[in-house]
Amino acid sequence: MIATEMSPQEIKSKKPYLEWGLSEKEYNYICEKLLKRLPNYTETGLFAVMWSEHCSYKKSKPVLREFPSKNERVLQGPGEGAGIVDIGDGQAVVFKAESHNHPSAVEPYEGAATGVGGIIRDIFSMGARPIAALDSLHFGEINQARTKYLINEVVAGIGGYGNCMGIPTVGGEMTFDECYTGNPLVNAMCVGLMEQKDMQVGRAKGIGNAVMYVGAKTGRDGIHGATFASADFSDEKETQRSAVQVGDPFMEKLLMEACLELTNKHADWLVGIQDMGAAGLASSSCEMASKAESGLELTLDNVPQREPKMSAYEIMLSESQERMLLCIRAGFEEDVEKLFENYGLEAVVIGRVVEGHQYLLKHKDRVVADIPVSSLTDDVLEEESQEKVPLRILQTRENQNWIPQINDVGETLRKMLQQPTIASKKMFTQTYDSQVRTNTVVGPGSDAAVLRIRGTKKALAMTTDGNGRFVYLDPKIGGKMAVLEAAANLIASGALPLALTDCLNYGDPNDPEIYWELHQSVLGMAAACRALNTPVISGNVSLYNENNGEAIYPTPMVGMVGLVKELKYAVPSFVQQQGDLVFIVGNTEEDFAGSELQKMITGEIKGNLNDVDVAQMSSRMMKLLSAMKKGLVKSAHDLSEGGLAIALAETTFGTKCGLDIKTHLNGEELFSETPGRFVVTVAPESQKLFLDEIQDEEVTYVGTVTNNKKLTVAYENGQFDLDLKKAEGLWEEAIPCLMKSKD
């Protein structure tokens, strides 16, 4: 591939680093200020990947500082493989999300699969056992062969990896909008459970300690992956070679079990552990040295290699999957080798922690890099970005919002149930093993997934949410809504929201309008996080999500985890019993901008959002949770896409019940998407206690649960009946039908 390496002089004159994503300004700064000499080929490559947005967050860092990242429960905030939160009894929950948008757009199966593989490694590198996976997927409209192919392959890739690993994929979300056609979003989240005493960090310290490499051999996979993720991409050319990363979940399963044995049983051998993700050996090794302020010397000849004649540059930058880097206390190298051998894996010493703070790489008896560790990790030139309010937002601010007019409410509801973003995703979720490890109390298809914690009364609830449409219309309000929506999903399951992880998916940040979107939405998310006391403990930024110069909707994905203190108070999202009373918690306003109804009727997303009062919403949610903890609530479902009408129908699906509803809302308002509302059912005998507990003028009694499969709604200006059996059929068949149809 790379025949002969350029000399430092040639690099200076031919500027290959521009293609690798390093700017001329950065290169000059490295030569003049940091090294005071010209970097060689390998060194230049190291700077290019380590200074990429993917590894250094040089553009997004100033914005990320807006997030609260600590509270009384946070044991580990951002900066390690994943964040850790105390859940009592000496236990902790560990989680993080990761985007794999660009790799999935090019090679959807392997892109999605390796995305899942990467996030799982982040979790077990903290010493935690992964217990669940979730995803957040955004595709174009299901009307093109290419989109169907992307959907099928991405879903197969996620399932293929998680199923083989034996980690249940328990939840997620999936939306469809034109803007994602050329650039789908594939975000994966993993949740782990651990004993606090087993906590690990990615550090390489203690002079003389060994740096050990474990897992798959290194090939030329994904070289330039990290820099590639930071530059607008074009179709991969047809060649006889391929740098696409291929996942091997079988290898990762062995690696996971071996690493967990090491972290949980032999902590005394281990100084630090980190997975090799983006920018592979380069980023994992220098981050481990940087965090410990150590020096490192690696002999690259010892790195297990799959292909012959790999250069130092290739070995360092390879993104081969299923590899981990360990720092092992001197003297325990052989014990570690034996432990891994027992799993059929190779563990190899590739270097040592050394005095000083240099990053020294040797290959074939040559020194191929000799630079200060911090120059790669800390001296990155942070970039100041320009911001500008997008024209579309300035223009809409002056306009009146669209107000719908519906003639046949029942028919509109039937049509809404068939909108892909609303319709059942069972066709996809049933290709995921959602039950393995037998802890899944609530699997895919509910507001949040719920997993019991064996040996305790506790459970964990988890969800992923993001609504690019709202963020597109108003990033700040949309950002608040994304966090509130995730929290509402957890509350509806009976869980206290603990903390969140995120994937920030945006277009090209060099565009001042896009940077403004990023900044504003983070401000909105941060405000909601503060109100809910849910810090951001980990996350990921994915920029340059564009195709042919068109950016996606700004789409921050929120992955949130909540604690169910006693599983017996967790409630389902569907109705339970005839005679139970139905309440709506939260008032309904005219919120049609960015709604599913607007998209269905006008084909557009347009208008101004009403601001949300995060403090009020948070207090409402806590009251509802407290009513649940007193056993006063039989079911709860949060209102989201499609508003009340859709939520009512959904709460009956899969049951033998129906609903008899009377409301003062008008037909259109049944579809309004005012955030922070719930439909709740309560046993008649609990009514008084429930209302006392909620103490909110925003609670409205709207009807009762019946035992016929019919949804009857009398609204302000009319009435309709919906045959729920038929409606459920339409809702279930909509996506299979679209996926099958020829276009």
């Binding site: 199923n163 083989c164 062995l254």
Partner: protein
Amino acid sequence: MKIAVVVFPGSNCDVDLYEALHTVCRADVEYVSHKQKSLAGFDAVMLPGGFSYGDYLRSGAIARFSNIMPAIIEFANEGKLVFGTCNGFQILTEAGLLPGALKQNNSLKFICKTVELEVVNNQTPFTSLYEANEHIKLPIAHADGSYYAEKDVLEKLEENGQIVFRYAGENPNGSLNNIAGITNEKGNVLGMMPHPERAVEALLGNEDGLRLFRSLLANGKKTEEAAR
């Protein structure tokens, strides 16, 4: 009665089987590594679901050559109870302890859902606590669960009452004769694609699998007593 749960590289329902037996049924159960060569001291052996050796080549094809396999074959030949679910069933067919083979689902997709089954034969040590022809629900979670055998083999299975479970509603994978689980001729080796170990707790929504383990434990105890 002491039960072995065999762990192959890539097994991932080993914990589920273990918990079903240990925590729910309070049975004496132990994990046994594929590297071991003996099953001495055990009264029954269970092969869990998962992706042994990544399902590479064919599901169960490589696990068949594990160190533990000769011991399992000997164990079966002695008439002791051997149970395999999902990947465990695939391994048992690959090893020749059960006839036929499991091929890719007709849908070409992995499928995880609850299906309806008929207990066709309740006269086995694994199913004695079920009613004859009782309909139960169990989860399935597999990509290669389509049972195939030659015509004469199928006829023999039917005649001998070796078909223990049949899909009673929709056939989820294309299995011939709607076969979901079979025994060997002697009836001491059961392989099935559905996961009874995932259906042993009301908390998780289904207890229909519980009687399979209880049957096995009850019959194991009887045999023990008879031996005394």
